[in-house]
């Protein structure tokens, strides 16, 4: 018997669109849990989107379900990073690109403001030194 003769029939689950694995709604529930934790205990958390068996269609479904919010942040730090708030405030879709433009990692961050957006205090101090230098140059 040849491999070609094995009758392989794909029977998609009812209501499942092409390419969807069924894992995306599970992630949506996890996001809801994390938002509840943020509201109740002011505790921020993160989901690593690339650590789960999600297809491109799953990610698209998730992105569409979450929709677009009011805030979109772009970071230029070792490649571009996009931090887009979804239509659910506090739920951020974070995509880090590497220097060559490829996606290096992708997360859902549940936080009032994503950690990476805040200026590190040591950098602020370095900035102050620069300001002082500028002022001293004024004579």
């Amino acid at each position: 018997m040849k491999l070609d003769r094995i009758p392989i029939v794909s029977v998609p689950a009812p209501g499942r669109a092409a390419g969807l694995s069924g894992n995306a709604p599970v992630v949506l529930r996890e996001i809801a849990q994390k938002v509840r934790r943020l509201v109740d205990a002011n505790e921020a958390s993160t989901i690593d989107l690339l650590a789960m068996p999600l297809t491109a269609a799953d990610l698209e479904w998730l992105r569409e379900s979450l929709g677009n919010g009011e805030t979109h942040i772009s970071l230029d730090a070792g490649g571009e990073s996009r931090l887009d708030e979804t239509s659910c405030p506090g739920v951020w879709w974070v995509t880090h690109h590497n220097g060559q433009g490829g996606v290096a990692s992708a997360f859902i961050e549940v936080a009032v403001v994503p950690e990476l957006v805040k200026a590190p205090i040591d950098d602020v101090a370095a900035g102050l030194e620069r300001l002082d230098l500028l002022i001293s140059d004024l004579g």
Partner: protein, 363 residues
Amino acid sequence: MQGPLIESLARQGVSRRTFSKYCATLASMMALSPVAGQAMASALAAAPAATRRPSVIWLPFQECTGCTESITRSHSPTIEGMIFDMVSLDYQETLMAAAGFQAEEALHTAMKENQGKYLLIVDGSVPLALEGAYSCIAGRTNLELLKEASRGAAAIVAMGSCAAFGGLPHANPNPTGAVAVSDIIKDRPIVNVPGCPPIPVVMTGVLAHFITFGSLPELDALGRPKAFYGETIHDRCYRRPFYDQGKFAKTFDDEGARNGWCLFELGCKGPVTYNSCATTKWNAGTSWPVESGHGCLGCSEPDFWDAGGFYRALSVPAGPLQMVGAAAAVGVATGAAVSFLNRAKKRAAKAGHETTTLADLEK
């Protein structure tokens, strides 16, 4: 976030945000929780100053230099490269400017000055036939050099499948009597980083772990870091849902192949191969074998070269992650049929080493 590394990176124009982003990605690749990324960022930033860089000695044995190529030509210039700046690479034949007597002197000085503390990286297998005459450096056999260098090493990293498992030189009929580092050295901690070649970030990950937590990462039964080799290619493959649905490409140019279905029937060794290509990818995150339409060869597993042919389907499908309803029934039935079909092929493959022909590719 403070420390010598972050200050040195800042001088090179790398901001704290860039470094935090890099650590988040590294943790994601190591399958650690996003919280671990923050811990790693703080610990790495505070790594020892350049004056106390740990010494690394890299010995090349029976190898093709592919491992060195993989590490040095990966993404440049990147933070991986800068983390490598935290170590002092005291001997690496391919990269060092010195040659002959000077090179050998550098090796012996490094071993003497860092006795018991240096990290020994080995790529390539060690030939034992003809008393090791198949591969010699400066008139001494690989076996002799390995034994000498391992005596003062804090730990050994076996880079690539040849050093970790014997690799290609070890393939049947193994004319040079090639063996792995772990077949010879029994009294030193050995980390196996197999792959042909291995993924560069695994090396950085091992170093980052050593600096962050002060120990070698947790290893599996084959001595591989669990963070990178803890799951199979199959379990992390983006084509996995097609396997669960019973959708397979049957040739490299059929509708299934064009639709990007599972490559299991075309011989993909993903289900039995532990590595992280599916998440780390290759060429600066551009792609990886399955994404470019070719099944996994299983290059990070022992004896992958003699596993019966790259284009022969595995005889026993791995247990699917989750299958529901009718799709599950079809999947199991397909698995059983493939298993039955392959018994005869496996017997034939066992009889002797088979070369892959064009006919295999067009099966």
